[in-house]
Subunit: 504 residues, 4 copies
């Protein structure tokens, strides 16, 4: 459905498939009838989101929210959620999240005087969680009007949506939307009498696509798009290359701070968490092979080494390979160690890194999981053969049993362990949400001409600002340059402090 | 003396001062008479090089090499070294270095068939050490003719120079050259009848400058310049900006691999080494503040933390500051901890990071040292006041004594600890030398038009190649992409494997 | 109920209270009527056991097992379990456990020739879990006859008990026994016509106590007692001191290997696991204070430091304090850091380490938990005051809210985090079970006179043997002494290898 | 010469050979004439001590101190040192050492009121260094009179001896004593008119032996012996077993604090230091095998792992082996990895751990060194064969060259790397010296009957006191038990805090 343009420019296959790490979902059998729609909504939107928090179950209420008449306590009915009465529970969740999102709260405080988003009319399409709610209410505090839909049909937390609706946000989202619901919700955000958006906050590109397709004239008033996901960013670059991007767009996915937290820092912890929650295994003394030594691989290796595992690394890139060596890991080919390791972890972004042949050679009880991307790294399909027996021993844990009795422990069916079997800390989501808020402010306030119809990275100064807003959490005290030092270094005292190519 | 052009372009002060990390030298009192020459040779060329190896002392031989008649065993006298008879000792040093420079040895092997530098006439100006000798002999094996001078008047290892001369390399260098000798040697390399260089390998820019000044026509035949030092690279960028650069130049200083080894990996080890050799202190339990959390700071912090020190970090850049937090270091202002720490280490690249006021407040026996750059970070000058007593307790170790008896232990008078009080492992120099060799090959063989009259970074593929040549040292086995995987990733199976902005 | 003897000997209070780490349970409101029995069964026996595995719920079956008529497939009815039909599910659990208990499986193999427990009649009273089942079936394979009861009224896994009964073990245990049931089950194990135990395996001392009280004559045939828990061991030492111990007893709780795994290695992992599962927090950059630097504290500190937390330590013992310093932790008094830390962890074995005053001064969102022992370390009782609001936000997670809105996050109501909110890896239980098996073998086969009527530690050689049986799990290859070396060291080639006071 | 008694009791060979770690010395070719004396002084006394500090060389002064007439400034001539005029230089060394020996300085302060050694007449025989001087002057401040000789003929620092003599200590020692000098000096300490020692502080047992042999009656007045070395302690145990020990003796070698610092903490740093100073190698990525995982091995492994080396471990003891596994090291037999490793380090206390066969199979440039004990671990003798060439490339560094050109880098000829090629930090010596001082105080003040004619370990409370005196160095704040807590734990508030078998 998404006209991705000429194709003259050769893009790597993985980038097209690459799901944003935050959008790892379980493919679920979809209802009959949906299949007939050819690629009607983006892949990520139909996958289910695995949330660690368990909420009140409303599954017995079978009425579609679209058929309900609901009003919030102020009498407004400009929203569509599962059950407005769940607002109170959702509000508590939001309040808890607020405590771990200090940067947005700081932005709110600073905005008491000036309202950098006064006049902004933001239409958003993201996962609807407590953290998103903190973002939305921050945008509101900064002066913006917001209308919001979900970027995924399963990920909405109904209670949070209710709480937002109760406090006056036009939210159109519930858990378990049909595909028709999905687009209906988006349309309700955009197609309003007497209100036209001037900013887009998108996660996956479906909202942007819908406006392109249905209301192209709206772009005349739109000052910019902020996009968070790998998929959505890729689409924007395609549009740009095809000369079809008609407003500036901000790629917040590739900000330094966001990247480090999404990958290195977050995965350093979630590899341990994901393995423990699924297998209760002990790390000490275990032999582990980690495929790929990028940021994610570096995080996994550091954590496991610290816990007393013996870690081997595979790499294709000699520079990363040399880094692995200097960090104390033996660099091997997978075949060299596959018979001896207790755990295989993939973090390559590649496909078929672990093949059926590897799986055949693993020893009994070997654990196999994926921290990389999507579900391509382990060739799980090759395990769906008659001679192998699958046994589900726990949620997210399958034993695949060979005819000779050998068992392989496959986690999350090869999907992302960190998202399926662990949780993303609010602090990491805070980094992302703050980056989004600052990108919106930047685009909205940028003087005419600073940004063309192109895709931009967040200015380094803003990236530094995101970081600085998170320092108080750690009671961290930044040093300020003296005038003399700033002159000596040829820097502005307020940053940016590094050249663009700086590697951190 | 170096006409650095317009000055219209505002450059940071530190870049101009910034001495290449490999060129940290002890300022020595220069002989009378030299002072009269205003800025006649580059700063780095007159500083002394602190070498760990102790060699046979030839200081009692007072005759200037320029006045000697020497021949090597094949009868050639196209060289000028201290004493050709020291060749054997130098040869052994070269052989030992060869064992730790596997990449260059591998290049020699691959060159047995093809000679990628056949026809190349390289004039070089670098430190003359065993490692340089391995580089020169490798260039020879690859087909090049070389003529060489020293880039520093103190750093030449006479025995190595003799060994090179003995095996037929026209080398013009000795330890303790006068300034006049310095330029005379360079001139002897360049100004030869019947031989004209077509490639320049420079370290500091003096050779390049000399040719610009004396033999500008030579550039017509020159295919390119390879420059290693921060200073030299800066000069090239200035030339380029002034439109005066008339051949392509390769900045090998900023290659990924070289940077990581020069800074992170090397300093992680040399901070411990430098502190131990000078003070015999114990690291366990010590409180340390590290100023600056760039690559060098990261290396220092990791090493000291691992040895049981309690490490505090100061930073001006909020992104690096957040990294310090996530790595487990308290981020403070120097003032907060200055009274309690046992060691202060500067790694900022900035000036006056440690001021007299800080020094006044330090506790008794506090150790102060610099791992950053040059000698600007600690305000050592402020300690040269009458009320303070200096006591030299060991080579490179001064006690500065306050009137109340408090002693501060100042290392290397505030110059770079890692170069003054530790040694650079041959393996690190191997990375640099290989990068230089590949840059020469690339420039020499590049098809017309690939490189303009500008300053270039080494192509990422070459950087990856440098890394790959060093993997066998670690018995590291790289994985190869399958065709299918390469297609999936949109990559060439032989690299480059990462986009240019990749942060490693 | 347990006549602990004279009391003339002054024992520390904590030893009496100290529950074995494996016996940390949730106190549950007990049914009316039980309270009337004064100390009728040991504390540990009435606490509930928190198991990670979720099993089929049989709670709707209200009939007491004592009133049921059940037979296993071989026609035997010499057992009493919840539901013999659950045997198959239990068998699978046992099979999975077998895979991680290599040492016991190895013992079985070695026992195929000789039967070191042939003739042994073992009566056991332990938690009845899959791991215990592996132990029991191993004892059987070694030649022993076993009869078994549960040492805790809540911890029995009914399916496992069924599986054991199905394969012919006389097991008397179910989840949710009443106190009367508890003693009835024990009695059914002991009081059998035509069968009399000659070995006791106890966990907590209730079985031993019962025999002492009801069947003292049985001790004439009993060759020894093996006791695993701190509580039970303490009782034995008391008996011994009172001159009332009439058979040899083996204290397996204090074996080197068991201690290291129960404390250092296990807690190093479970502190992270417990915190993640309850709070989803991020460790990086967090400030943590760990009270106590014994084995447990050492494990917690090492793990958190490795994950990027900033860790402070409190200690009362100067030697442990110095160790903390050398390992890189600031040693503080709790008051010094209580206002700034994000997490407080107690590992002291002491009481009221965290007082209400401390809790009043903690900052908002501070997490408080106990890894030490029992539930005495945090003064939780002091939080049960009217001005504080308790809010249960998740299982095992309470927010305690101050009048000004400050929230403290209290985990497991101050009980052991590692047992309440994490799981004990099977590998750790394997160490314990193997130690028990070897202790039984040793006592059963010891020549007359080797052991008197006293409490013994497992001989070091046996401890070494436990370790050696677990090495194959790690594919670890032990070196053997040559004859010459053994002579040089004055050692037997088969161990023991260290003097008794060796500290490991 | 030392009549070690019956021999009926079988002692391990290594204990007899085992040189105290602080007494590792280079065997030097001794002058002709000395050989004729059969075992006339203890082995350790003739080995040379490798000191890092370089002092003024007095070697050109050929007159024997015994033939000189010297007086200190107060007119005393009751001493015999090389040159009393060097006192000032020695005093500065002592003052520097004082700054890192806070515990002794604290003892001096506390002793201003009471003099716990008032009346003590101590005769000592130890290495004479700045640290020993701080100890002696502390003993003086505590009220003792001291007379001192050197326990080694090479290790005396003449300047320090001069400083001590200048301040009135009867010191009899110089660097380069002959064997006759050695005993003469000891005799001069003991055999004084009007003065008879009542305490002995010995290091190696030679002083004790001399008194036993020459002045057995002196023991009537002697209250006790404090012995620091493994060798000396062994001799005392032999005496005790033979029933010949006629006064109480304190074994300070095996105190917890001293052991941890001498082995784990000290070696963790000195392995890196020793390797760097000798080879300038890079640790990152190197493959290392460490033989033995006791305290020393644990320290070496931790340090190298932290620096990015890949570490393998060999062990004979399954418990230590399991510890290595849990700490993340592959446990191998030496043969499995000998062909691939870059460094071999022995820490076993055993002999011939590295054999000629191993050496034959090592790869080119492999570094071999010993951190364990004495010089037995590597079979260096097996390398003294005609087909191998030895090349001394630096002090303490030999290349052993095979006929095919392979070179092995042997450090310190197989003697202890940490002592030969690194220095022992003053802080570590401070722990030892404080332990000695407290042992003297304890023995001197013990009530009649507390100590019999046997060898004792320092009471745990004293060991804790040594630790507590060193805490202020780290600004470490110990927590005190409340009365209630002390009662709960059954402890005295002032310690001891642990049972004797506690493993730390």
């Amino acid at each position: 459905m998404w006209d991705s343009g000429t194709g003259a420019f050769q893009l790597p296959e993985w980038m097209i498939q690459f799901a944003d790490q935050k959008q790892e979902f379980n493919k679920r059998p979809t209802k009959i009838g949906r299949r007939s729609l050819s690629r009607s909504i983006s892949q990520s939107s139909t996958d289910s989101y695995s949330s660690a928090a368990s909420y009140t179950d409303s599954s017995d209420d079978e009425t579609s929210p679209r058929d309900k008449q609901q009003k919030n306590s102020k009498g407004s009915s400009d929203f569509c959620v599962k059950n407005i009465k769940q607002a109170e529970f959702g509000r508590r969740e939001i309040e808890i999240a607020e405590q771990e999102m200090p940067a947005l709260m700081a932005l709110r405080k600073r905005a008491q005087g000036e309202k950098p988003l006064a006049g902004a009319k933001i239409v958003g399409c993201t996962h609807i969680t407590a953290q998103t709610a903190v973002l939305m209410e921050t945008l509101g505090a900064l002066g913006a009007q917001c209308r919001w839909a979900a970027c995924n049909i399963y990920s909405t937390l109904n209670e949070v949506a209710a709480a937002l609706a109760e406090s006056g946000f036009p939210v159109f989202a519930w858990k378990g939307e049909s595909e028709d619901d999905f687009w209906w919700c988006i349309d309700r955000c955009v197609n309003v009498e007497g209100w036209q958006p001037n900013m887009i906050l998108d996660d996956g590109g479906d909202l942007t696509h819908w406006i392109y397709k249905k209301y192209p004239n709206m772009f005349k008033k739109i000052k910019g798009i902020v996009e968070e996901s790998v998929t959505g960013v890729h689409r924007l670059y395609q549009l740009s290359k095809a000369g079809k991007l008609c407003v500036p767009a901000m790629n917040v996915n590739d900000s330094v701070t966001k990247q480090k937290f999404d990958n290195l820092y977050c995965c350093r912890e979630s590899i341990l968490d994901g393995l423990k929650r699924t297998t209760d295994m002990m790390f000490g003394g275990k032999q582990v092979v980690v495929c790929g030594y990028g940021e994610v691989g570096k995080g996994c290796c550091a954590a496991l080494k610290a816990m007393g595992s013996i870690v081997y690394v595979t790499e294709i890139d000699p520079i990363c390979a040399l880094q692995a060596c200097m960090d104390g890991f033996r660099l091997v080919k997978l075949n060299e160690v596959i018979r001896q390791v207790d755990i295989v972890i993939t973090c390559t972004g590649n496909k078929n890194v672990v093949t059926r042949e590897h799986l055949d050679r693993m020893k009994n009880s070997c654990i196999v999981c994926n921290m990389g991307h999507s579900n391509t790294e382990i060739d799980v399909a090759s395990l769906r053969t008659p001679e192998l027996t699958w046994e589900r021993v726990r949620s997210q844990v399958d034993h695949v049993i060979w005819p000779d009795g050998k068992r392989i422990v496959l986690l999350a069916e090869g999907r992302l362990l960190n998202l399926s079997c662990s949780t993303v800390p609010t602090f990491v989501l805070s980094i992302t949400a703050t980056t989004q808020a600052l990108a919106l402010i930047e685009l909205y306030n940028a003087p005419e001409g600073r940004y063309k119809q192109d895709v931009y990275l967040l200015p380094k100064k803003m990236d530094e600002y995101v970081a600085s807003l998170h320092l108080p959490t750690f009671d961290a005290h930044l040093t300020e340059l003296t005038d003399e030092q700033a002159k000596y270094l040829g820097l502005n005292k307020n940053g940016p402090f590094k050249p663009n190519y700086y590697r951190y």
